[in-house]
């Protein structure tokens, strides 16, 4: 294969993949169809593997494709398909531009003990205990969290800025989106990893991928027997060492004509840079060629722009969280006796869900109502960052199944709309002593108004007043009542999660006695 083509192809291909990922995670207007998201995520290694263990069909066979691909071509996944890998390439490129004078790469020994220990630990814990280490280390999920918690607010700030300008001219094609933010503690994991992965890739290229990432290590093991690999043509090589200096994986030992395939991510930079065309990507047992360099100042500019906006984004997050509307009124007194968190529809049970979710946060960013929030303790420490329904933030839209359709790990299984409308993820509970109708003796009914199944309805109370009453059988636990309830600090109505989801009864309805009028009654 010709050398210049390989590297250019890698860059073009990975750029397209990366843009697709950005689009999917930043699609705050829900423009991208779920089908497309599924295609894109099919090949993500860890989500696909988790899904396969559960459903055992080729619909979740993406990781098998990746294993076969690795057997054929080495760790191409890491350079072509892994969004975190591509992101690191961009970052290390910026690092290279800024720190031009330093020789950052060059051959180094592998961190054998570290990387295999992490792989063994992650695998072992995932098999025998739970996914909590995998949650932290799955590269796709790390990327998803970067985009959801750190990247998307920047996009929203830009959108809001433009929407405000257009709004002045009464143009409403872009609409202002409120940046609600998450609990501060939820930012710890993405920020720590952003710093770790950011610094390592900025200075040392693919060191994170070759030292920490369990997927990288696993694919590295497999690629030891791959058919295609980068090889030296010893007769052409002048031992100038340029290839080694450009190797992001620091895996080229040019003095011994040796390339560590377990760390090579098939970026093809070495082939591209070799003036003697002494390197080639070929079948076990063949030879090579080489062209010149490309430049991109754009990256630097984008980085500076991005980081400035990031600052803006974070500060507006802080503002968004302060904004709670003070309502002058008596405070409620009875604390909601919650026994269980509410996990999203399609999960089946909290137990299944927490075992299969890698907290990639795709559902959190895709949820049109923003009811999905990263758990901070609701599922226990092991379930940190896994999505949980937060009915103080929002409620689950009756006519929506988005999260169930896009989950790449199968922790949420696709639900047809009709099935979702009968899936009871929690049950409504009414606390009369907190209710405005009782405490203030004025009309309210916000909860019943919001209820899509009329599991919350109104019955006569004192005088002209009506007060809520609940029917748990037809409640699906969407939380609209809890969200709408204006009482603080404790709600007068709340949804208690079903640890195992149940089937709600279909609401019955009869024709009314009122008939079509023939005369005006006034």
């Amino acid at each position: 294969m010709t050398s210049s083509f390989l590297r250019k192809f890698r860059i073009a291909f990975s750029a397209i993949i990366f843009i697709c990922f950005l689009a999917v995670f930043w699609d705050f207007r829900s423009l991208i169809p779920e089908k497309f998201i599924n295609y894109l995520l099919f090949l993500q290694f860890v989500p696909s593997a988790i899904k396969y263990i559960d459903i055992k069909t080729m619909a979740a066979g993406g990781f098998i494709v990746i294993i076969l691909l690795t057997l054929l071509s080495g760790r191409t996944y890491c350079s072509f398909l892994c969004p975190l890998g591509i992101g690191q390439d961009i970052n290390s490129r910026i690092g290279g531009k800024i720190r031009k004078k330093f020789r950052r790469y060059g051959f180094r020994r592998p961190h054998t003990i570290v990387r295999y220990s992490i792989l063994a630990l992650t695998l072992g814990i995932a098999v025998f205990s739970g996914v909590y280490v995998l949650i932290l280390l799955d590269p796709y999920s790390i990327f998803g969290r970067f985009m959801t918690y750190l990247g998307k607010p920047v996009i929203l700030v830009i959108n809001n800025f433009l929407a405000n300008i257009l709004g002045r001219f009464d143009i409403y094609t872009l609409s202002h989106v409120e940046i609600k933010g998450f609990k501060l503690i939820a930012y710890i994991v993405p920020v720590v990893f952003a710093v770790l992965v950011g610094i390592l890739s900025f200075i040392k290229g693919r060191l994170y991928c070759n030292m920490i990432c369990p997927v990288g290590t696993l694919l590295g093991l497999i690629s030891k027997i791959s058919l295609y690999r980068v090889k030296f043509n010893e007769s052409k090589c002048t031992k100038c060492g340029r290839c080694s200096l450009r190797c992001k994986s620091s895996c080229i030992d040019f003095l011994n004509y040796d390339i560590d395939v377990s760390r090579c991510v098939d970026c093809f930079n070495c082939i591209d840079t070799c003036p003697e065309k002494a390197l080639s990507y070929s079948l076990l047992g063949t030879k090579s060629k080489a062209p010149e360099e490309t430049k991109a100042d754009e990256g630097k500019r984008r980085f500076i722009k991005g980081s400035l906006l990031m600052l803006l984004g974070i500060s507006s997050y802080a503002r968004a969280q302060e904004k709670t509307v003070p309502v002058p009124r008596k405070e409620s007194t009875v604390k909601e006796p919650r026994t269980s968190p509410v996990c999203p529809p399609g999960a089946g049970s909290i137990e299944f869900f927490t075992r299969n979710c890698t907290a990639c946060s795709l559902c959190i960013t895709a949820c049109p109502n923003k009811v999905l929030q990263p758990a901070t303790g609701q599922y226990g420490l092991a379930g940190f960052m896994q999505p949980v329904m937060d009915y103080h933030k929002s409620f689950c839209t009756y006519n929506c199944t988005v999260c169930t359709e896009i989950c790449p790990t199968g922790a949420l299984k696709p639900l047809m709309l009709e099935a979702k409308k009968l899936t009871q993820i929690g049950k409504v509970n009414f606390i009369k002593d907190n209710c405005i109708v009782k405490t203030e003796k004025t009309a309210c009914g916000a909860c019943s108004e919001a209820c899509p199944t009329k599991a919350v309805y109104m019955i006569p109370y004192e005088g002209n007043l009506v007060i809520p009453e609940t029917n748990q059988e037809i409640c699906i636990g969407c939380g609209h009542c809890e969200f709408a309830c204006p009482v603080t600090p404790y709600k007068a109505i709340f949804v208690d999660g079903n640890p195992v989801h149940q089937a709600a009864k279909k609401p019955e309805n009869k024709e009314s006695d009122i008939t079509t009028p023939v005369e005006f009654p006034f």
């Binding site: 207007r29 709004g167 409403y172 006519n399 009309a443 916000a446 309805y457 309805n509 006034f522």
Partner: protein
């Protein structure tokens, strides 16, 4: 600029209104209602929503009575719920479309349509069928999903609701046409013209927790009043309102009420629903506050059957 100007004038008007109210001149205030229609109310029955509107507006002297050339118009339907048109939780799209067309015919420069939805606004605008017809008729759909769009106003004379945040488009337009749909309501028993204003403000929770009926009446004091109320009674949700559960909740009444007096409009609407208007607290409260007249006998009502 325009907005600031408006604030200045509304502040002045507020003081004037407050002064007038303190002198007890409720009726005189209302006498200055917008439009010089021949009737206080048109009640029409038996046609399609658009055909009924054509005839009814003609009886009021055409849309020109309310909309002058070059004016910006806000058409405010009820688009509260993510529900299909057949379930009658939102104003009939055919009616909304026809009203927009009449506005443009009368020379409106721009027509805007918006509601502060209860369900997800994107889905609600779409599934209500209103976004499509409004755009087709040349109107602009305005989002109401973010607090950013809402401006603080004060309501002099409000008993419980003394200030509110209202959507900027209400302040930026010259004419406000209120297009509610008549529905049963679980807590206030009925929703039509007055209660439709809950979709203009940002913080509805405040209303719910501070005497809902009084807040509904208080808001009607705000000086940006509707020039015309068109109450859609074509398909009427007679129970399980305001959202409804299924088609069994809906009765086809094939009616429409056009009025410049929203208290009168709601009184008539309540009777259509078979509810005693006295039992819907905000109607007698609004009547007593001088916002409108619930004694239909004293009004000039034209009843039409198609």
């Amino acid at each position: 600029m325009k907005r600031r100007e408006f604030f200045r004038t509304s502040f002045g008007a507020g003081i004037a209104a407050g002064a007038a109210l303190s002198l007890g001149g409720y009726d005189k205030l209302w006498a200055a209602a917008p439009g010089n229609a021949k009737y206080d109310m048109i009640a029409i029955m038996g046609g399609n929503p658009d055909a009924m509107f054509d005839l009814a507006i003609q009886e009021l002297g055409g849309m020109e009575t309310f909309v002058k050339k070059g004016q910006k118009v806000l058409v405010k339907p009820n688009i509260g719920w993510d529900v299909v048109p057949d379930l009658a939780a939102n104003t009939n799209p055919l009616l909304v479309k026809r009203i927009i067309e009449h506005c443009f015919k009368a020379g409106a420069k721009e027509v805007y349509v918006f509601d502060h939805t209860c369900d997800n606004w994107v889905n609600t605008y779409k599934n209500s069928g209103i976004e499509k017809v409004a755009k087709a008729a040349g109107a602009k759909m305005v989002p109401g999903n973010s607090e950013n769009y809402y401006q603080q106003i004060s309501i002099p004379g409000g008993v419980k609701l003394k200030s509110a945040k209202v959507h900027e488009i209400l302040l930026d337009t010259d004419v406000f046409i209120n297009v509610p749909i008549l529905k049963d309501h679980n807590s206030t028993r009925m929703t039509a013209s007055l209660k439709n204003t809950m979709g203009i403000v940002w913080d509805r929770g405040y209303w719910h927790s501070n005497n809902l009926h009084q807040c509904i009446a208080d808001y009607a004091l705000f000086e940006r009043k509707p020039a015309l109320n068109v109450i859609d009674c074509y398909n009427v949700m007679v129970k399980h309102g305001p959202q409804g559960v299924s088609k069994e909740d809906v009765v086809q009444m094939k009616s429409q009420i056009l009025t410049t007096d929203w208290v009168a409009g709601d009184t008539a609407a309540a009777k259509m629903l078979g509810v005693d208007p006295q039992k819907i607290d905000y109607i007698p409260i609004a009547h007593k506050m001088g916002i409108g007249n619930m004694n239909l006998d004293n009004l000039n009502i034209k009843r039409i059957k198609m």
